[in-house]
Assembly symmetry: C2
Homo-oligomer: 197 residues x 2
DNA sequence: AAGAATTGCGCAATGT
DNA sequence: GACATTGCGCAATTCT
């Protein structure tokens, strides 16, 4: 309930352990339109990393918008060109939402309602507060992850060491046992001879 | 030569296996000035995450600049406010560099030369190409990291299992040994009696 | 000298 | 609703 959290996500655990999948993009209508060009591929191991087409957009900081919603390098042309200064920001959502309106609402039932989804305008203090908090959470989470990884690593080392000791002990015991067995067999013979005599 | 590549890095393998340390920031003068507000603290475990002051900047996309150089939430005010449109971009370095000029150039010998460092303007095709390549590399690298982590984890599990088996074997051998010892002592007594008779 | 690999960071979507 | 996770792209740095 904590480590492999997103196991529930459909597409996720689908074909691999965990990373490299769209995850958010694929499921969310807002971002889905420009979803996975890059992320998709990470699945087919090596090789495939070099797929993302090099659309050389003309816009300047489209990257901003781009990254804002984790979209790779699509939709650089049309939309997303007005918010360079991020003043109208907060509306990336809307823009995309509307851009997508053409989709039959029947196919995306529960997702059409909040067309404006509360205009979080990136200027709002609330927005910054949210972001700030999330950033803190992110740092914390990553720190935790790092610690976890470290622990696992050290645990492995420790176990390996312990393993060696155990194996040595086994070797020792085995030898001891052989010795005793030998002695016993000797005694046995001896006893046999005595009985025969 | 491939997995634990940055083993040579001083601070790195210093105290632990691999992650969690500043690494780059701590060593480089340029970034060091605004370096670790966030990373620093991540060391002192929990608690300290809520430190970043909630400067509610007035600017809009300062975030852009912000993130551009991975600086946490400092320098929101003065500099970094002119490149919203990312045209002059590439000069973040300079801005900061100049901001830092007060530092005796003797301390930063090799870093003052390329004042303009080739103005890569984010519009250039080259820039996009670079970014694209880096993104690919990043994905690849992360995939690799994930695999590595997974492996370590599995290895730990495997070792643990093996450990149990070994311990069982030891228990078994020990018991067997005890049995033989007992038998031998019996024989010994028996032999002694026989000899005495 | 140049490109690939790493790493920390913030954002946004999503999970809990 | 707040916090936790996670994928993603950016930029800085390091490795090769």
């Amino acid at each position: 309930m904590m480590s492999d959290s997103r196991v529930s996500s459909v597409i996720q655990e689908w074909v691999s352990s965990y990373p490299g999948q769209p995850h958010s993009q694929a499921l969310n209508p807002v971002s889905s339109n420009q979803a996975a060009p890059s992320s998709q591929m990470s699945q087919m191991d090596m090789i495939s990393y070099n797929q993302s087409q090099g659309i050389i957009r003309g816009g300047a900081d489209d990257r901003v918008a781009e990254q804002m919603m984790g979209l790779p390098y699509l939709s650089y042309n049309s939309s997303c060109l007005n918010n360079s200064s991020n003043l109208g920001s907060s509306n990336h959502h809307q823009s995309h939402a509307s851009t997508q309106q053409d989709f039959s609402p029947f196919l995306l039932p529960t997702l059409r309602a909040p067309v404006t989804k509360r205009s979080i305008s990136k200027d709002s203090a609330e927005y910054r507060l949210r972001r700030e908090r999330n950033n803190i959470a992110v740092r914390k989470s990553r720190d935790k992850a790092r610690r976890r990884i470290l622990q696992t690593h050290q645990r492995a080392l420790q176990l390996q060491e312990e393993n060696q000791k155990l194996q040595m002990k086994i070797a020792q015991l085995t030898q001891e046992l052989d010795t005793l067995k030998h002695i016993l067999s000797q005694r046995h013979l001896q006893g046999g001879e005595e009985g025969a005599a």
